[in-house]
Symmetry: C2
Subunit: 308 residues, 2 copies
Amino acid sequence: MDPIRIAVVGVGKIARDQHLPAIAGNRAFSLAATVSPHDPGVPEVPHLESLEQLLEDGPAVDAVALCTPPQVRYGLAAMALKRGIHVFLEKPPGATLAEVAALESRADKVGATLFAAWHSRFAAGVAPARAWLAERRIERVEITWREDVRVWHPGQAWIWEPGGLGVFDPGINALSIVTHILPRPFFLKTATLEIPANRAAPIAADMHFCDTGGAAIHMDLDWRQTGPQSWDIIVETDAGTLKLSNGGAVLSLPSGTEHAEDHEYPGLYARFATLIRSGRSDVDVDPLRLVADAFLRGKRATTEAFID
Amino acid sequence: MDPIRIAVVGVGKIARDQHLPAIAGNRAFSLAATVSPHDPGVPEVPHLESLEQLLEDGPAVDAVALCTPPQVRYGLAAMALKRGIHVFLEKPPGATLAEVAALESRADKVGATLFAAWHSRFAAGVAPARAWLAERRIERVEITWREDVRVWHPGQAWIWEPGGLGVFDPGINALSIVTHILPRPFFLKTATLEIPANRAAPIAADMHFCDTGGAAIHMDLDWRQTGPQSWDIIVETDAGTLKLSNGGAVLSLPSGTEHAEDHEYPGLYARFATLIRSGRSDVDVDPLRLVADAFLRGKRATTEAFID
């Protein structure tokens, strides 16, 4: 089978750290081009300044991976889908829920694959956690996601703007795992969002959810954590406690602890290839919907200004 | 056919003004009970203090109409659906999108009808507007929804709390019409929400949407309008201008103007009966999703405190 010719659009940190290596490591894909108006490309691969330019004058592509900030993603995705080009959307899949729904209809109509990627779902411990929880009664869930924004998002101004998600940018990773591993759907009861006086997006959030069986789910989300970082999910069940730590990489069950190699982005690209080969899309908006609900229903509190 | 025995839960202003008369005027229904911990009931109809009490000791019911504030609606709806009782949800259908999705799955599972009611879609001009627009190219849409909150929501504190929608409580009526009459889906580009210094919810909003064909949709939403009130939707098309005014009651087309009697709630109850008789649900969350997107993506500005 011919490899899928793919262009990476937006060649920032996440593209260089994750997408380009994952594409290079998967024989189902060949990197046809990179696209960015300001970042440089990679040696020996055509580099274009815009997606328009790629589609008009560049090498032919079957697929694009959109690694730009979410605020501009809809226009790029719509442009690609219009030509039947498959689209990989970095998380979050858009700046609004309605635009993602519109893209999903568009992809259906033209028969192209749209993939809303949630990389944390491919962390090593997530699939076994989901399998283990499928048959348990959930009693209580505690999510602790505390990291240092200065380390992980240095100088990324867009993340603080309206349409950027603030601390929900990492928090949505936790939600993508929890929506995937818990056997019942859940929804927000109350939330408090802390917004720095000089920013539009939250730096911390405290959230209480409830699943449809009545189990309480608490989430502590904070971007002001210096020192050790926490990305932990603890699920208490009728058969003991499950703990996913290191963002899903390490799984502890009553029977013991499993560590495994990180394979999030390789896992995403394997999935994208499968979707393309089988003519399907995968657009799960549940994590983004929970975030929208937190903005819709949450209480806001102003907190200390954040200086990058 | 036996009438559908219905209980009205939450006997506030909207129940008395609209639900009870619409039920009395439709022979498909018989009012079996009213439920409220503080409001009085109606003469010669059993009155219970809570839904639990109704389900345990009250007269048998086939359906409930939930007219309570949205913050408490999920628990009531889940309790009714658990017993296979059909549920009519006043707008907005819930305090969050995820809880409405969970109710929809629950209704599917038990084979009960769930109806997310959008009363403005049953305004007299809406169905002919939708039919007329189906074949037009949309060029521009202007939505002006300006009313006096002191007249329409006197002393309703819940509407200003997190989970209440503020000015989006009327604004969602406009969105329920526009999502229904326009031939293409649309999504938010930018929004500014004005929040009174002493409240959690917006008193005004200025929003720019875009449909998937590129047409611009502007919405001016304001709760500070004294004097004449405006509930107008203007749609410019390749075949001239359509105007829906008075909240959808009056339709002006290039060929002339039509006025018709209000029949919103009778229309809703006729639809609810049809859904129940045919074993279907109708849960369109598009208007609430657009509101959630405005909270998610919109810019906030603090404005003058609002004293009721």
